[in-house]
């Protein structure tokens, strides 16, 4: 963070607030899960906020995003309404998907968020196809596709990246590498030099960055997106980060040494940006207020979400298909 002194305080103040909001949203969700309010599994991204924030602050609102099972941060960063998201986690009316999807299937097409996904790697071909669709229509929008380090061992990673290069599509592939695939250290199951090397072998330029340094993620994303918007085709960004929490909110993550986690806590991307902002002259009070506001916002949201009605059970029969709609028959 050499350039901390000439940091754009306005821009990164907003990024800082966003990162806090992501953290606070997930902490509120984890707390709510302990109370039984979150109904299905959630995969927190605590410690990884710089990837969501650094990538998405470079997307325009018309740009599109595809995410994973660990997508709360990405979705918030793309501009989704946290109340609707929290309602979705709680399975309530007014959830982003009306309570049909839950955490792993949050989508908000209104802000260009085309879906989390419960199948690792499945978002890669879909993102590629979304970019293909945009290109066919002469659109200037681009697509960002975030996936984990574990996803690069699935076939669709190869197929999607090859395709994006062959058709020179406007996609930013982001490998959000937290070192783990569920309980497995990804490096033990991953041959070769990793995501960037694989992308390069497919003719796709790739950049590796410290994924806990939001300034670095931001800068690398901006350069990549400039190229993509200039019509140069896909780019891959490999962001190394660490997952502080378990794979799911209820995973104690005993498969890794406590001191490793402790050391990584000291590498908190939010604290790092806070330090940079402080060095750039932002007041400690202002920094603390940002954190505080985020917590208040998300606490209020969780309270509001818990007071929301359940969806109409008959909604289970809608949005299936027009022809052969199950509502044509009684159940």
């Amino acid at each position: 963070m050499d350039n901390a002194h000439n940091l754009d305080r306005k821009r990164f103040g907003a990024v800082f607030a966003l990162m806090h909001r992501i953290r606070a949203f997930e902490e509120a969700a984890i707390a709510a899960q302990k109370e039984g309010l979150v109904l299905g599994a959630i995969h927190p991204s605590i410690g990884q906020e710089a990837v969501a924030a650094g990538v998405c602050c470079n997307l325009q609102s018309a740009d599109l995003l595809l995410s994973t099972h660990r997508g709360h941060g990405h979705t918030l960063a793309k501009g989704a309404d946290p109340l609707a998201m929290m309602r979705e986690l709680f399975g309530r009316a007014g959830g982003t998907c009306g309570g049909k999807g839950g955490s792993m299937h949050i989508a908000d097409f209104g802000v260009g968020m085309l879906g989390a996904n419960g199948v690792v790697g499945a978002n890669i071909p879909i993102a590629t196809g979304a970019a293909h669709g945009l290109k066919l229509q002469g659109s200037k929008q681009i697509v960002a596709c975030i996936f984990g380090d574990g996803a690069i061992n699935r076939g669709p990673f190869l197929e999607g990246l090859n395709w994006a290069r062959v058709f020179d599509l406007p996609v930013l592939f982001v490998c959000e590498d937290n070192g783990f695939s569920a309980t497995t250290r990804t490096r033990d199951m991953t041959a070769g030099a990793g995501a960037a090397a694989r992308a390069q072998s497919l003719g796709i330029p790739a950049v590796e960055v410290d994924g806990n340094d939001v300034l670095a993620v931001d800068a690398a994303t901006r350069t990549a997106i400039d190229d993509i918007r200039a019509g140069k085709g896909p780019v891959l960004l490999h962001c190394r980060t660490y997952r502080i929490t378990g794979h799911t909110a209820v995973d104690p993550a005993l498969y890794r040494p406590a001191d490793e986690v402790e050391a990584q806590r000291g590498n908190c991307p939010i604290a790092r940006l806070g330090a940079a902002l402080a060095m750039a002259g932002m007041e400690p009070d202002a920094l603390a207020a940002t954190a505080q506001q985020a917590v208040e916002e998300m606490t209020a949201i969780a309270a509001k979400a818990r007071d929301t009605d359940w969806p109409d059970p008959m909604a289970a029969f809608s949005d299936v298909q027009d022809m052969g709609d199950p509502r044509e028959r009684a159940f």
Binding site: A122, I124, I126, G129, H132, P156, N162, D319, M323, G324
Partner: protein, 328 residues
Amino acid sequence: MATDTYLNAGRRAVIEEMQRDRAVWALGEDLGRGGVFGQYRDLQGMFGADRIADTPISEACIMGAAVGAAMTGTRPIVEMRFSDFALCAIDELVNQAAKARFMFGGQMRVPMVVREPIGMWRSSAAQHSQSLESWYTHIPGLVVVAPATPADNLGLLKSAIRNDDPVVYLEHKNLWGLEGELPDGEHLVPLGKADIARHGDAVTIVTWSGMRHACLRAAEALATAGIEAEVIDLRTLWPWDRETVFNSVRRTGRLLVVQEAVSVSGFGAEIAASVAEALHHELKAPIRRLGAPRIPVAYAPALEDRARVGDAAIIDAVRGLVAPCPAN
């Protein structure tokens, strides 16, 4: 009216719909050279390589990309070459295309047509002969269509392309060369409506795809013996036309379901079970199902034929159905 083949009927449907709607495009392997059976012959010349797109051998990405492209406002026609290869893209079809609209709470639709040629085609063996339509009928979110005539291939494919949800469109490889009359001008066949291919009152035969023709041949043979079979070609398997089938069975009191697919858990089981549930008291004889035994399709003709439902089996089954009921 012009006479043309089942293959060309499908090609005409693609041309007409691509001319009608710029959002429609097709993607698959070798399409620029017409596709593996010539279904896309010369279309790249007519529409350009963007709209008749050659792809890598990447079935998962072909299907997955179509999902994404459908989400961004285009209407892809996915060519899977042989339905067997669609198994390389089943996650993308079943977990993504079919479920997205629902999972995401109806925020959008996934309008795409997946063309998957099915069926036995002399000596194509176990990996190029399957008919897995029953799988797709089991999956919420999918429409399933299986045309049996040139006119239906024209009219159903056009309707499928206009449908706003994913359609699995199963052409039969053995029918490519089949000739028939194609109406001039716009010809749309509604999804979900069966075709009563032959009227009769002795027995109802429900069938689809390639077996329509075997059933009609068998019905003609039976007619010479005074047995008039009604042959219903479902055409659309989901949603299937319960009304037409039930009305016929109410009249005939006898049902034979004929399918090319493996009989065990084939779609014929769904028809048979539905009729057994709804019309038990109106049946004059037990329902019969014909389909392939539960064996992979072999290469050598004499072995392959053991997996085929022949005209004789249909005739026998009908005779059994109309025979006086044994004392019980």
